[in-house]
């Protein structure tokens, strides 16, 4: 199991962050203003990309500048809480483990409800869920009128319950006994709208997909969420959270018009002046997607949901947010625009190989003189702010998601209707290489492009330099392509070899197995040691 504390342990040096700001600005200014342009269109595309990078870097530094935050907490504050476990067809044993843990939480005044959406989702086991709830002595609210997916399910339960606070867990997110003891005390502040705890993946060690998912989470639930506390901008993630009923009512309930209902609801609560808090302690344990297809779907859902908030809900012009909160929301949402910038950057060497086009006429060593210190400072900053948890794999998966992000952007701009899909937690077997098609095509284009460039201008410094950039890009793509590939002996060997280079010493993938068998899941779930989420995973990450 991955560490539950290390990702929360960073205390970055302000000197390092300040140096990074200076270098980011110097790099941008030098690149933008000190060199003659090459191809004019490429130049402006490059500059637009660099403006985006600078925005990302500066807002990250702004967020991570101060991670310490103290909020008023009264351990004796213990109002009534309704605990909701959202279910839409997940296996009964998985839901049971979560419900039992919720029932047994140490808190004087809470009642557990399973929000059973199996009936409206036409899942076969909806009645079994009702029976299980009765057996273990928790409430069960089975919705008969469909609509609004997970948000609609919660809103329905809100109408049927009365406690002033509601805690929400996804079906696989098993709360610790002290979850309510460590979160409810913050509601002593009457303006507290919601309190969010980290979304910890206890199955992170299973395969490359889970470990990469978790390592991306570590950056988000580490420095980003901790930094957002200072700015009263905690992100609502849809599970492992407690919400004030009053705040939720004022926000119009859970937003059932967005596939990122949690993120949008958090935004509406903030707009109405409510406070929020992120508790930097693992208080519940869930599961990461275990196969490449599920990971891709999850990423697409997050991206599309976020971009909807930007385009459909007009994030920039909405009233009620403070400037700090607006910056935080824009920063989170804009991460999903990075796909366009990544695609543009990786294509630059290809444009040079095939057409000799360059955006800037610059001596490559002069560029190196500015870029290398800048990027190494950035690496040092990422390492420092994430307490050395953010990994090569995580950045590789982030970068390689450019295809998903572009697809999400297109669907958001064109207003395509996208249904709420549930992330499968049972590893799906198969060949998902089609999902890495852009990356494979890129490699082919590079292999053909290098000889084309050499034939045109010999083994010049520009050719060597652009080829090196392509090696960089391909090096980033390889873990992603391997994760998409079907399980074979060759893949296992290759993954093991790649792991020796890129995995941190103490948090490596213990097994290269992609699929966990159903029996294994059931055994683990029954043992109470683990739980596997099957559906209803509707969390919002807002990661960069």
């Amino acid at each position: 199991m991955p560490s539950k504390t290390e990702f929360l342990g960073s205390a970055p040096s302000k000197l390092l962050l300040a140096a990074n700001v200076i270098m980011a600005v110097v790099y941008f200014v030098v690149l933008a203003f000190f060199f003659p342009h090459g191809n004019e269109i490429l130049f402006w595309v490059l500059i637009a990309g660099e403006v985006f990078h600078m925005w990302q870097a500066l807002t990250y530094i702004y967020t991570a500048w101060e991670l310490r935050h103290e909020a008023k907490f009264d351990p004796s504050f213990a109002p009534a809480v309704d605990v909701f476990i959202t279910v839409a067809g997940e296996p009964v044993d998985i839901v049971e483990a979560t419900a039992l843990a919720a029932r047994d939480m140490e808190y004087p005044n809470h009642r557990v409800y399973i929000l059973n959406d199996g009936y409206v989702a036409k899942k076969e086991n909806w009645q079994e869920i009702e029976m299980m709830a009765k057996k273990i002595g928790v409430g069960c609210i089975t919705r008969k009128t469909p609509g609004g997916a997970k948000a609609g399910n919660i809103n329905n339960a809100i109408r049927e319950t009365k406690s002033p606070y509601v805690a929400v867990f996804d079906a696989d997110h098993v709360p610790h006994k002290d979850f309510l003891l460590k979160t409810m005390g913050y509601f002593v502040d009457p303006n507290m709208g919601f309190v969010q705890a980290p979304q910890y993946y206890k199955n992170a060690h299973v395969n490359a997909v889970t470990v990469s998912s978790w390592e991306q989470q570590e950056l988000f639930f580490g420095p980003i969420c901790r930094g957002k506390n200072r700015l009263n901008s905690a992100t609502m993630c849809g599970t492992n959270m407690v919400i004030s009923r009053k705040a939720l009512d004022e926000a119009g309930g859970m937003c059932d018009q967005s596939i990122a209902e949690d993120f949008a609801t958090g935004l509406f609560i903030h707009e109405r002046g409510w406070k929020s808090l992120y508790v930097p302690e693992v208080l519940a344990e869930g599961l990461a997607p275990e196969d490449f297809l599920s990971y891709t779907k999850q990423q697409f859902r997050w991206a599309r949901g976020a971009l909807d908030v930007l385009f459909r809900y007009g994030l920039i012009f909405r009233r009620g947010l403070t400037m700090k909160q607006r910056i935080q929301y824009l920063s989170s949402v804009s991460y999903f625009l990075s796909g366009v910038v990544v695609a543009m950057n990786v294509c630059l060497p290809l444009l040079f190989f095939y057409f000799g086009l360059i955006p800037v006429k610059i001596n490559t060593m002069l560029l190196a003189l500015i870029f290398i210190p800048y990027i190494y400072l950035t690496i040092a900053m990422l390492s420092s702010t994430s307490n050395a948890r953010f990994s090569f794999r995580a950045i590789s998966f982030s970068m390689c998601s450019f295809g998903i992000h572009i697809r999400a952007l297109w669907s958001a701009i064109t207003g395509q209707k996208v249904g709420f899909s549930i992330t499968s937690k049972r590893g799906l077997e198969g060949n998902f290489l089609r999902l890495a098609t852009p990356h494979i095509v890129y490699i082919i284009l590079v292999v053909i492009g290098i000889p084309v460039a050499i034939l045109r201008e010999g083994l010049s410094a520009s050719v060597v330099n652009n080829a090196a950039w392509c090696v960089f890009n391909i090096g980033m793509f390889v873990p992603y392509i391997m994760a998409a590939a079907p399980e074979t002996a060759m893949k296992r060997r290759f993954t093991r070899a790649y792991e020796t280079i890129f995995a941190p010493r103490k948090a490596s993938v213990a097994s290269v197995k992609v699929v966990v068998s159903g029996e294994e899941i059931a055994d683990i779930a029954r043992s109470g040691a683990r739980n596997f989420q099957a559906a209803g995973n509707s969390k919002w990450q807002g990661r960069r």
Binding site: L15, E215, N363, T364, M365, L366, A368, L369, F371, I372, P373, I375, Y376, I379, L382, S383, S384, S386, N387, A388, R389, F390, S391, F392, A394, I395, L459, A461, S462, V464, N465, A468, W469, V471, F472, G475, M476, A497, E499, T500, I501, F502, A503, P504, R505, K506, A507, S508
Partner: protein
């Protein structure tokens, strides 16, 4: 027993590396021609102690190495072999020293590889056999790092005393050693909490003593006429910046090879990302060694670009020990075969470049004054004139030259006059000098090297007015032209 065996293994390993470096020096580097700087070392030290102090004060350097070489020459003479052995000793001592540094900072594994790449480093092998102060500066830098790290890990009175002594000796070996002390001050300011409480007092005391000694030297220099023989250095470009690091690892290669390697810099960025989640790289040792590796190069570059050019890779040898330790440590932080592969590749590339540097005559650092002088000795007659330009290459030329033709410089330089500096070049002085040569001599052998901005003017003038009889390039940037001045 096991501990003794391990200790014996370590000692044997280091001895083998020392023997390897010594053999490389004796069989390859010692056989090379003496360079301009080496000849200048001999010229500066072949006099009384007060004379040595005076000429060094007029130059850009500090006296420790030259005083040492002065006494060494009294014992062993000024033969090129003898004066180079003086430097070789420091280089050989640096091998166990860097082993100790890497072990102190990280681990025995890192120490083994760091010592190995030190022994086979093309750059260090070159300066390890160069009759200049660089190998001594390298040794003092290592010792300073070692003692400085011990100051926060396991301080003692002896460590403080030795650290202070090395600081003083280092400053009087080369002024760039001040960069080492600057980095240590910077690190202390950033990470003061890891040092014992009384450290501030000790550092201040050492700084005052070293500062006072430096001040005394600068006052002495001022009255001796400092800076009269300052070399003219060009402002460094971005390529020069990266060439320093290329030199450190790959030695002195041709522009073509350098361009190829340097253009691969995006791979360095990629490597950086692979170290992202390695907690072990975040200790204070890494922060200190990173500062020691890059701050001197960065500062020297900034000073050179804005104030006064001082950017030479050999001066920046103070960055090298920390850089070697750091790079080996990072590569060793990979797991399993990847670590072995990366380290083996580093060793293999450095070894290959060492061989290339040794066998390739066009290696840019080579200065074949020996063959140039021998050629003129064999071919010039008393009716010929041997002219060298820039004037200061007369030092290595006269070290080897024993021909019949008169040796002079252009522009004219009377080195033995008080506060002597070469005359200023102008087309008129060249025309006048050529006119004077024509009156007396039948041929002129002009050896052009270390271009100070006018070598091409000389060649063009002579080509235009006189018949060129011969041309021969002995090493990069060192070419001999023979012209007929008049017919007998």
């Amino acid at each position: 027993m096991a501990t003794r065996t391990i200790a014996l293994k370590k000692q044997s390993y280091i001895l083998v590396l020392v023997a390897l470096a010594a053999a490389l020096s004796l069989f390859i580097w010692m056989r090379q021609s003496i360079t301009l700087d080496e000849a200048q070392s001999v010229w500066q030290t072949s006099r009384s102690l007060s004379g040595v102090m005076t000429v060094v004060a007029k130059d850009v350097h500090v006296p420790l190495y030259f005083v040492g070489l002065h006494y060494w020459e009294i014992l062993f003479g000024t033969d090129s072999f003898a004066i180079r052995v003086f430097s070789l000793i420091f280089f050989l001592l640096a091998i166990p020293a860097i082993f100790a540094l890497a072990k102190e900072a990280y681990s025995v594994r890192v120490a083994y590889v760091t010592a190995l790449i030190t022994a086979i480093s093309p750059f260090l092998n070159w300066y390890g056999s160069d009759a200049r102060m660089y190998s001594l500066m390298f040794l003092f830098t290592i010792l300073s790092h070692l003692l400085f790290i011990r100051l926060w890990k396991r301080p003692s009175r002896t460590t403080w005393f030795l650290y202070g002594a090395v600081a003083m000796l280092g400053v009087f070996t080369h002024l760039f050693f001040l960069f080492v002390l600057f980095v240590q001050g910077l690190f202390f300011a950033i990470k003061r909490d890891i040092f014992p409480r009384e450290s501030m007092r000790h550092f201040v005391r050492i700084a005052i003593i070293a500062g006072a000694a430096c001040l005394a030297w600068f006052v002495y220099r001022y009255f001796a006429g400092a800076g009269l023989t300052n070399p003219v250095l060009a402002r460094p470009s971005s390529v020069d910046f990266f060439n320093v690091f290329s030199n450190f690892f790959l030695g002195f290669q041709t522009d073509q090879v350098n361009t190829f390697y340097l253009s691969l810099w995006p791979l360095l960025v990629f490597a950086g990302f692979t170290f992202l989640a390695r907690k072990e790289v975040r200790g204070p040792e890494t922060a200190y060694l990173a500062l020691a590796s890059f701050v001197p190069v960065g500062l020297a570059f900034i000073v050179s670009a804005t104030l006064q050019p001082i950017f030479l890779s050999r001066y920046l040898i103070v960055s090298l020990p920390s850089l070697y330790v750091l790079v080996v440590f990072f590569l060793a932080s990979y797991r399993g075969f990847a670590s072995d592969f990366a380290l083996s590749a580093l060793v293999a590339v450095m070894l290959a470049m060492l061989v290339v540097q040794a066998v390739q005559p066009s290696s840019p650092v080579k200065e074949d004054f020996k063959d140039a002088a021998s050629y003129v000795s064999a071919n010039a007659t008393p009716s010929d004139l041997f002219v060298v330009s820039a004037p200061f290459i007369t030092y290595p030329v006269e070290y080897y030259y024993d021909g019949a033709a008169r040796l002079t410089t252009f522009p004219l330089w009377d080195r033995f006059a008080k506060d002597a500096v070469p005359q200023t070049f102008s087309p008129l002085t060249l025309a006048n000098a050529a006119g004077d040569w024509t009156k007396v001599y039948s041929r002129v052998f002009i050896l052009l090297g270390y271009d100070q901005g006018y070598n091409e003017n000389i060649r063009l003038f002579m080509d235009k007015h006189y018949q060129r009889l011969d041309m021969k390039t002995f090493s990069p940037g060192l070419t001999l032209y023979v012209y007929k001045l008049r017919y007998p």
